[in-house]
């Protein structure tokens, strides 16, 4: 078994107005970033998962998203990465 650093991003579903994102977008335009649009605010959840493989770690996290981390009525989630923590340490040098 290995341990994997897994990250999830949860955002408001596309079909629902993300009022926070819209407000931040207006502020960005006001301070000189007209090139930035479609701003969406979400939640970032990072965790360590013990599993046999990165795929298995992702699968556990998918289940966790469905049961708790995201509410499918209003939110979408994306598992951003599942990296073995040894690799993570090497990356940090």
């Amino acid at each position: 078994m290995e341990r994997f650093r897994v990250a999830v991003v949860v955002t408001i579903r596309r079909s629902i107005a993300d009022v926070q994102g819209m407000t931040v977008e207006q502020a960005l335009h006001a301070i000189g970033f007209p090139m930035i649009e479609d701003v969406r605010i979400g939640k970032y959840v990072e965790m360590l998962v013990t599993a046999a493989s990165a795929e298995e770690a992702r699968a556990y996290v998918e289940q966790a998203c469905q049961q708790l981390l995201a509410n499918p009525v209003i939110e979408d989630y994306r598992v951003m990465f599942a990296v073995p923590i040894a690799t993570e340490a090497e990356q940090q040098g």
Partner: protein
Amino acid sequence: MKFGIVIFPGSNCDWDAYWAVRSGLGAQAEFLWHKEETIPGDIDCLILPGGFSYGDYLRSGAIARFSPIMKAVVRFAQAGGLVLGICNGFQILCEAGLLPGAFLRNRGLRFICRPVFLRVERSDTPFTNAVPVGTVLRIPIAHGEGNYYVEPSVVRELEDRGQILFRYCDAAGQVTEAANPNGSVANIAGILNREGNVLGMMPHPERACEALLGSTDGLYLFRSLQQYRMSAVATSVVS
């Protein structure tokens, strides 16, 4: 009549609910800590009070929904027991799947704490039998995430089945966009489950049970529950 008031870590309207049903209604009440795994047999109605269970971490109600007592709450509701979720209690009932829908941040992104007007859409329910349809109640809201959302198709289902019990309206009872404080779909302020024994509402009836607090309209709801309980007892005595 006896109420069971569930206390989660972070509940803060538990004593208000206790006071409202004891002093306002003259009913009995008992607190139930969220780690309990059963509901005492003499409880007629459960109240999931307002507050910020688990600090509203992740999403309002998302963690409280897994508290040990919630399995018993689900069994109690499935057996026909009366369940009233107020504010955070409503959010918990939605997260638990006892009621449809979920909550977004208020449309204006501000926490709103003020009295609002609600139109009663049905009076043939355990929660509203003491108040005629179309009555306008003045009851306070106090929430940052009260923007109720369900898919448009589900809104139609809720309407067809008569599950919408309270809508935000103006003082004259008109359901308008301007009278919608938080952006909730179809001005929904309170909904029933399909069976009609579980109600979730964002406004706080327990904060509107004394003239000193500015309104006694919340008492209609608690009186309805008591009336329903008394008629149910009368029916069982007759049969």
